[in-house]
């Protein structure tokens, strides 16, 4: 049992996704319950796995006992292990949260949404765990297809957004397939570690460059990096509300991890065109950070604000990759972890506000803090973390990014980080102003209770995100140490 943990983490949500519809047909709650249980189990197992990786080093798991490089291999190093804990936790929280957003009259649709969310979690966890480039493609497609479905479940505008995303996403998937096809044709292997060894022998520069040209836009589209982000704002805005925290918080991060794997683990920093790729990535990040924040300023729909802010925040992550020193990479991954809870948390808040008052327009948010103190507490904490005010997670990831940039004498990146924080401050304080200061407007309360401001299944995710934002901040060194166990070897 214990040695099968890596695959169980991925398989449990997959099984529950497949069973979910059948169980829903029996009873509405049974299917959701199965999914919840499997996600909780995934989370617990990934915690155990993290403990194992920290004490025992990287785990290589050959699926079906077919040895690598011929079989599919899951490679869990300390980086993956940490990310898996974070992603599976967010998956579990989202499933908890999602049950409040079902259409009561159509139980099968609720079951379907739940199954799709479980599939999305499967895809995400699989992409994080895998050590095989083709297997990565499979999980990427699982992620994308379930995301298309979830976005299209968000009403008529959701269908349009999903269609757009599908068109662009298919292009990305094709580019990815072409990229790995080129690499496979010269190396004859699909295993990441094996591919690294063969490429290290040299002489494949042409193929590697061609593949890089396919892979950067492929991942760029999937992670919604500027200028490939076109599909993202409308998709994030109109996605099915229950699963939105997962889509916005986690879905974009996994392709970023895959990009990191290709650049630093397969290509390695000795490849002579990597520098050019990194400079390009740096330019994308810088413009993304500025563009995302500027666009966010002009929006009044909170979902749009947050969606554009994600474009900017992905810029932080890819900026870390572009700087490339271990400390900057640690900053990028810390930001990834923090951003899961910040953005996920903000979408929990959005969902909670919508659940209670049925509005997403920030101009109607007059002094809702009196009615929802917990939600507004998380909203404030997450907003401050986005800006980078200590002691939240966002400050410390920014610290490591800036420290990495200073180490490489990339002063321009520090300037951009400062400007970007200030731009974030403009629209997040505007949001805080709306929530705390503006006159109350007459909002019709949809959900009343004497004791709690919201149902418990919304409060739990909100509280956990709040704790995580400060916890990741104050105890960042422990996490950075674990991340550096992997990153020390791969950075510049």
């Amino acid at each position: 049992m214990i040695e099968n943990i890596p695959v169980l983490i991925v398989l449990l949500p997959l099984c529950s996704a497949l069973l979910c519809l059948a169980l829903t047909a029996v009873s509405r709650n049974l299917g959701i319950f199965a999914v919840k249980l499997s996600c909780l189990a995934s989370f617990v197992l990934s915690c155990i796995q993290l403990q194992m990786v920290v004490t025992g080093g990287t785990i290589h798991y050959a699926i079906g006992n077919y040895a690598a490089p011929y079989g599919i291999e899951f490679v869990i190093d300390s980086l993956n292990a940490v990310l898996l804990v974070c992603f599976s936790l967010m998956g579990f929280l989202t499933i908890l949260f999602a049950e409040n957003f079902g259409n009561e009259k159509r139980p099968m649709l609720v079951g379907a949404a739940c199954a799709e969310t479980a599939l999305l979690i499967t895809g995400i966890l699989g992409m994080t765990s895998t050590g095989d480039v083709f297997n990565l493609y499979v999980f990427l497609e699982i992620t994308s297809l379930s995301a298309y479905c979830l976005i299209s479940l968000g009403g008529s505008r959701g269908v349009v957004s999903a269609y757009r995303y599908m068109l662009v996403g298919t292009v990305a998937a094709t580019l990815y397939l072409l990229g790995i096809g080129v690499l496979y044709s010269v190396t004859g292997t699909l295993n990441m570690g094996d591919m690294r060894e063969i490429l290290d022998q040299g002489g494949y520069d042409g193929a590697m460059l061609t593949a890089m040209c396919f892979l950067i836009p492929a991942f760029g589209i999937k992670m919604a990096l500027f200028p490939f982000h076109g599909w993202q704002p409308s998709a994030y805005t109109h996605a099915e509300p229950g699963s939105r925290p997962l889509i916005t918080g986690v879905m974009g991060k996994v392709p970023a991890l895959a990009m990191f794997r290709f650049v630093y683990c397969i290509y390695g920093t000795d490849f002579r065109f990597v520098r050019i790729g990194l400079i390009l990535l740096g330019i994308f990040s810088v413009f993304g950070m500025l563009y995302g924040s500027l666009m966010a300023m002009g929006q009044t729909d909170i979902r749009k604000i947050l969606a554009y802010s994600s474009v900017a925040q992905m810029g932080y992550i890819s900026l870390g990759f572009a700087i490339g020193t271990p400390i900057a990479l640690a900053g990028a991954f810390l930001h990834m972890l923090g951003h899961v809870f910040m953005k996920g948390g903000l979408f929990f808040c959005t969902g909670a506000i919508r659940y209670k008052f049925g509005t997403v327009d920030i101009n109607e948010f007059g002094r809702i803090y009196k009615k929802m103190p917990l939600t507004c507490g998380l909203l404030t904490a997450a907003a401050l973390s986005m800006i980078g005010i200590p002691p939240t997670a966002g400050f410390f990831s920014k610290w490591y990014l800036a420290l990495g940039a200073a180490g490489q004498h990339e002063w321009i990146y520090i300037i951009i980080l400062v400007i970007s924080s200030l731009l974030n401050a403009v629209y997040f304080f505007r949001l805080i102003e709306k929530v705390f200061i503006r006159q109350s407007s007459e909002l019709r309360t949809r959900w009343e209770s004497e004791v709690l401001e919201l149902p418990l299944t919304i409060i739990i995710p909100v509280v956990i995100c709040f704790i995580a934002i400060f916890g990741l901040g104050l105890f960042n060194v422990r996490i950075v140490d674990i991340l550096l166990m992997t990153l020390e070897g791969v950075g510049l």
Binding site: L384, P391, Y400, G407, I414, V477
Partner: protein, 501 residues
Amino acid sequence: MNFMALELRPLCAVLISLTASGLIYVLGEHIRPNAREGITLTAAVLKIITVYSMIPAVLAGREIRLELFSIVKGVSFAFNVDPAGMVFACVASTLWILTSIYSIGYMRGHGEKNQTGYYAAFAMCLCATTGLCFAANLITFFIFFEVLTVATYPLVVHYRDAEGTFSGRKYLAYTLISGQIFFAAIVIVYSVSGTMDFVPGGFITADMLPMPWALVVFFMMIGAGIVKAGVMPLHSWLPAAMVAPTPVSALLHAVAVVKAGAFCTLRVVLYVFGPEMAKACYGADILAWMAVFTIIVSSFVAMRKYNLKARLAFSTVGQLSYIVLGICILTPYSTAGALYHIVAHAFMKITLFMAAGAIFVTTHKKDIREMVGIGRRMPVTMMAFTAASIGIAGFPFFVGFVSKANIILGAVSMGKPVFVATLIASALLALTYLMPVVLIAFKKNVDNPEFAERGDAAPAMLIPLVITAVISIILGIAPNAGLHLFDLAVMAGNQIFMPLM
């Protein structure tokens, strides 16, 4: 674990306010106002005891250092209680309790809304202020500095009206921009020096930062401090922030926030760059001239303000620049004087603000021109106001004299006649803008029917302001009375300049 251990006391001092803030925010709406204010007062008393209990050890030269955990890789979240921090912490914690009592009188007398948020944010500000007093390194300092920035925001926008919102934005624009630049500078300093611990006399050397960059980084770091301290031309948030309730103006815009700015300047100039480096990169000189400019100009601006709080705000701007000037003269005397001016100005200015607030709550007057003969109605308040005004001008036997004399002594020993002239001229200027208020209030042969009846402010407001006025006289006669604050200031000055002598 022994919680009375000396090393843990700085942490306790910070946590007391933090806990109070959390309790007030969570429980505030569910318990009676008296219980809520009980939390504030209990915390204030506990904090004052904790802070005072460290004085003997600091005076004896014992090191109180607490390293909690790594806050970023390679740097601990650490507290170090040194004389300079102790001076500021004593002032902040002493005035917290007085302002809290005053707040209760003011907020209730004025029937304010949102009091829960107000007291919670207030306690948070004090937590941040104490934290930055005791911070042992730049990152710990910066964390509390930014927490202070954010915690003050709800107090500035307390009235939730258009004016408050505008002031809040202005405040955030100034402090966040300078804070982020400070952040970038800390990153640069850490990447060139590999350390962040405050060292008396500084840790940056000329070979770490060659000349043009040293000046750039100096101003990037000092920016945050001088914005908060209101050095011109970066002062304009401070008068705007006076829309807040008077106790906020009193404690935060006369004590905690602006003094945090001055204290930040002190830490950066003397504990990060050090006197030699600050002098070599011309940063101290430029800053000193900016302070001179501020002292003179703010006095003239203050004369033209007829709103009492606005006049006091510009007086604050000028007085804070005394501290900055004292730091930038770079002598032990002037440093001790600057530190002591943190004490002196705090007690005097808080008396003035409390008096202004008492006048406003009792008679609803804001404009100085409408206060003719008000001394007849509120004699005690106006007596305290008079005492503090004279103190601000730097009369002997008032606390303002002690600090100014030391700064002037420093300027003389460095042979800077312009600075000496500025300091003396500004004393006269302070008289010209504060004395008219006193003279108008006590004008003879005027029968203003509004002020014919004697009816002073409520005791909750009157008692604190009398106490602070009395303290500012006692400390003027015996600068060391009670807490040995002057000794602490001198100790700090000597520590910094010891290696040079």
